[in-house]
Amino acid sequence: MISRSSPLVAAVTLVALVTAGPAAAEKVLRVAMTAADVPLTTGQPSQGGEGLRFMGVTVYDGLINWDLSSFEKPAVLRPGLAESWAVDEADKTIWTFNLRRGVKFHDGSGFDADAVVWNFDKLMKRDAPQFDQAQSIQGSQYYGTIASWRKIDEFTVEIKTKKPDSVLPYNLANLYFSSPKNWEAQGKDWNKVASNPSGTGPWMLKTLVPRERAELVKNPNYWDPKRIPKSDRLVLLPMPDANTRVAALLSGQIDWVEAPPPDAIPQLKSRGMQIVTNTYPHIWPYQISYLEDSPFRDIRVRKAANLAIDREGLGKLLGGLALPAKGMVTKGHPWFGNPTFDLRYDPKEAMRLLAEAGFGPSKPVKIKVIISPAGSGQMQPLPMNEFIKENFRDVGIDLEFEVMDWEALRGRRRAGAWAPENKGRHGVNNSWAFWDPDIGLLKTAASFEPVPTGFNWGRFSDPKADELVTKAKNTFVPAEQDKVLAELHTHIVDQAMWIWMVHDLNPRAMSPRVKGFVQAQSWVQDLTSVDMQ
């Protein structure tokens, strides 16, 4: 009996498996991150932009979210857990947020004004039982402007800023909300929450193995039906070595590689991998000193340095993965404006300007710049700096480097050009982001925003820039604010405030199975549209 039916059963099972297989197959996206560890999972992720990208906007939402649906234009803000918000007409420090109704955390508890207050307490109220030092540190870049917060009713909250600050909505896009009920369920222990977090985002964390992997599954009940993930599972793997990431992709162990090295691109392409690039808010500059001993106090020297750089050549050195800079922000960005100083490659004009400023072959400009051999967003700093050194030498600028590791360099940037350890240094090669007006333009250009709370490293001081910064901070209509920011950008480019080199093109390599991804012009990306084939 058994021997007769077995072949039949086997055949039927085989047919069923073959036909049912593809339909039932789980769609899994496996991503190799550049980070050496899985970013913090409890709410405010660690690991900078990569953390926000893979453990922020995936598991969580902000009151305001980034609109990441466009390839063509820079990402803008859109409603998230708040459906709408407004600043008080009479007192511009008071903001009211109307919360979205019907949103549930992954643990099933509801999102409301109490959850917002609880989460702000978690970050900023040091004596609150749920205060978490780790998340507080990660969020402090974004909540520094907030003075107080309170619940108005179940779905309305009020936030008061320390002074009028139109940039608040950008900051709120990076502050995420974790479930208070889940924190209680996990014994009020954030270390336990790390393995079982609960946000409101389109993905839910299922497994966390520190330093190794995080597995996220789709949230079928996500409040925005358009952003319910098309793939079932997202596996995140920390893989700091670039060659390992490439090998893992080529051997089929993963589907998606962050930041493949430029020299691996031809091989990846020849093996049928997709290389996706787009501009995003990143600039690779020298932030320069305006102190007494700095030759950059003379605008002619600043302009000459900007004109001496062969940015197209630099792009070729990087395998075409860099866009020549025309200023702090990319051309076409709403804040670009209309600068008259064109950042072109013009060594003759550079030499003319230097001669006019009293320099020449017998008296070269001598500058010393702090650089690092690697670091987040630093691209390929050593060959790039050597390339620039050659460019500078051609026009009569004698460039000397002080090389230090990335964290030491960041420390020297935070200390300011006037710090004793930075004496005699005229620039710092710290790659920069312009994802919000503060970090990109306002706090870099204002004389009243020195490091460490601001980002003005070199004491750039310009009355017109200061006036425009103040105006932008007090302009609350986004389109109007963009106009002021464009005016400010025009001015700082015309003043050659920094030496701007290139924008990174944010390359990613993917297997041909990855479909539907739209690379937004942003540090964060939306993985919900990825449909694994």
Binding site: Q133, Q141, R211, L250, M404, A408
Partner: protein, 317 residues
């Protein structure tokens, strides 16, 4: 023997204290702020001061050291700066993962090293000896991370027969003694085994040649003892020297390799150190280095004791 054991254990104490001071100071003397990686952009001096206090970095260095070592002897190595997880919860699984890799590399490296060394020693001066010596010198000279990359390119990328990275299809938690997991072990173990294999082959060869020249070996041959019995005597007399080298190599393998583990994304102590170095996670760095140094000290102690068992003259000295 007991007295010798007690004396040797006593000797390790100042070494352990010295190692802990050196590892603490080296990390704190590195330029830059220990909290640099966690201090956010735009943090005010007040926020920085708060963070320093929260992590205990506002104390003078000697106090920090005493606090750290006091907690460490009680098994508490502090919390990771980056993740706030207890250091031991990070170091312990990494040590286990490195041990798995080290044991595989030991089997490969010591097995091949001893075999090649014996062949070369017995055939000293011949073509076979030269070939074996060439192989072992190459083994010592090849940078293991480079070899790791080459192995990945050949076996994972081009042939597609072995995985390029990781510790099992679902990571270290599902690692088991099955083919799916062991496949992940082959390439990193080979890369790790090359240097110890080369070093051991060289030292076994040298020692065997030395022993073979001894009068008592000539006497054994002259007495007509069968070669396999003479071989036993040779091995026994060569063992103490080789054992000392093997001990050091084993300790080194247990220390993991920052480069090999990073190249293969193997979640061991080397990978942990790499990640801790880049994020300036001092508690993790200190904890991992201390645990690894203690491995070194302990294994040296065990090797010393084993040597004294094999060669009683050592004990008397």
């Amino acid at each position: 023997m007991l007295l010798y054991l007690a004396r040797r254990i006593l000797y390790t104490l100042p070494i352990a204290v010295g190692v802990s001071i050196v590892c603490f100071l080296l990390i704190h003397l590195a330029p830059g702020d220990p909290l640099s990686a966690v201090i956010p952009e735009g943090a005010s001096p007040e926020v920085v001061a708060q963070i320093k206090t929260a992590y205990g970095f506002d104390q003078p260095l000697p106090i920090q050291y005493l606090n750290w070592i006091w907690r460490a002897v009680h098994g508490d190595f502090g919390m990771s700066i980056m993740t706030r997880r207890p250091v031991m919860s990070e170091v312990a699984p990494a040590v286990v993962n490195t041990m798995i890799l080290a044991m595989a590399a030991v089997l490969l490296g010591f097995g091949f090293g001893i075999l090649l060394g014996l062949i070369a020693g017995y055939t000293s001066g011949s073509l076979v000896d030269r070939a074996v010596t060439a192989i072992s010198v190459t083994g010592v000279s090849v940078p293991h991370y480079w070899l790791g990359m080459v192995l990945i390119v050949i076996f994972a990328v081009h042939l597609g027969v072995l995985p390029a990275m990781g510790m099992g299809a679902q990571g270290s938690q599902t690692f088991a003694l099955d083919w799916v997991s062991l496949r992940h072990l082959i390439l990193p173990a080979c890369a790790m085994a090359v240097i110890p294999a080369g070093i051991i082959a060289r030292s076994v060869r040298g020692t065997v040649i030395e022993v073979l020249k001894q009068d008592y070996v000539q006497t054994l041959f002259a007495k007509g003892l069968p070669p396999q019995r003479v071989f036993v005597h040779v091995v026994k007399n060569a063992a103490p020297t080789v054992l000392a080298i093997m001990g050091l190599q084993f300790a080194q393998l247990l220390g993991g390799s920052i480069l090999v583990e990073t190249v293969f994304s193997w979640p061991g102590t080397g990978f942990l150190l790499n990640s801790a170095i880049f994020t300036r996670d001092l508690p993790i760095l200190q904890g991992t280095i201390l645990v690894l140094s203690m491995f070194f000290v302990t294994i040296n102690l065990i090797v010393d004791l084993m040597q004294s068992v094999l060669d009683p003259r050592i004990k008397r000295a």
